[in-house]
Symmetry: C2
Subunit: 156 residues, 2 copies
DNA sequence: CTCCTAAGTTTCACGTTGCAACTAGAAACT
DNA sequence: AGTTTCTAGTTGCAACGTGAAACTTAGGAG
């Protein structure tokens, strides 16, 4: 347990926050998920200052979360698009949004994310065991990598 | 689709970020999840400035994410503990950490979160359909609440 | 040729962060 | 009882980040 506390800083959370931890980053990402692609769209949707928006877009591009390329048909316009790395932030974003909805002011979420196949809403994002049970407060413990069986060290 | 874009701001992500969006908030939360409870513990673990730490702890308490109470056996000490609302941020935190691990520097996560029952690592956090399928990039669409069947509007 | 639009950049006032030193209250030591 | 130590802060100040508004540059439209 002593070692556990000492090695806390080896977690990759700080690395993730280095890319996404600044103000506006998640809101730009959400707008991106919702189909916005251009500077002026982000600016009007979010009401963010233009210099800050430029800075954030540049950082997101540098971190490989968005790509930046001029539109072929109107070369004034720049298209910002999510990369796979950027898209992989969807579970984080949905989890955070669901938390805000459940514990915040209680507004119903909008828009709703639905399964394209049957248009039914998605499940609540949760921490699951290897066999798919939802794990709660008392079902979880922190462990050293050495304490975990060798065969099943895939997920974190 | 026009309405969808117009009503983007009704999402509860901004509310969530109001509570957790500042620098250090997630790292303090992680330390909390890992069993730290006292000011000096947070300060030494994170290397955060004392005034900022005091400010963040106060904000987290104000938002109902942590509780603050003096220890009975040593009344110099203050205990900060996660509330249920704070604990409910676990899926968000785990998702963010897993993203950092998968797409960041590639360090193996530490410590590992395991199922208390069998000590096997947890699954990767994902967006799931109502019947438990993992939904990917092309399996998801955004919908107006009105477009979703009345019976199944539970999750977001 | 002129006007307009998209995507920035610049300027400057203001707010936030971070380090270091200081403080108040409770416990421990002598 | 008096001094020291320990915990959880607060204060002061310099550096950095943010935000509103005006300005710039390249490309397209009439």
């Amino acid at each position: 347990m002593g070692e556990l506390r000492e090695r806390l800083s080896e977690c990759s959370l700080p690395a993730a926050l280095e890319a996404m931890g600044e103000r506006w980053s998640f809101l730009i990402l959400r707008a991106s998920f919702n189909g916005l692609h251009h500077f002026e769209e982000f600016q009007q949707e979010l009401g963010i200052a233009r210099n800050i928006l430029a800075n954030r877009l540049q950082r997101l591009v540098e971190h490989g979360i968005l790509t930046r390329q001029p539109c072929p048909e109107d070369r004034r316009k720049i298209e910002y698009r999510l990369t796979d790395k950027g898209f992989a932030l969807l579970p984080t974003m949905v989890a955070l949004r669901q938390w805000g909805e459940r514990w915040g002011t209680g507004e119903p979420a909008f828009p709703v994310l639905v399964d394209a196949r049957d248009r039914k809403p998605i499940r609540e994002v949760a921490v699951l065991s290897h066999d798919g049970r939802v794990l709660g407060k008392h079902d979880l413990i922190w462990a050293l990598p050495s304490e975990v069986g060798q065969a099943e060290r895939a997920a974190a």
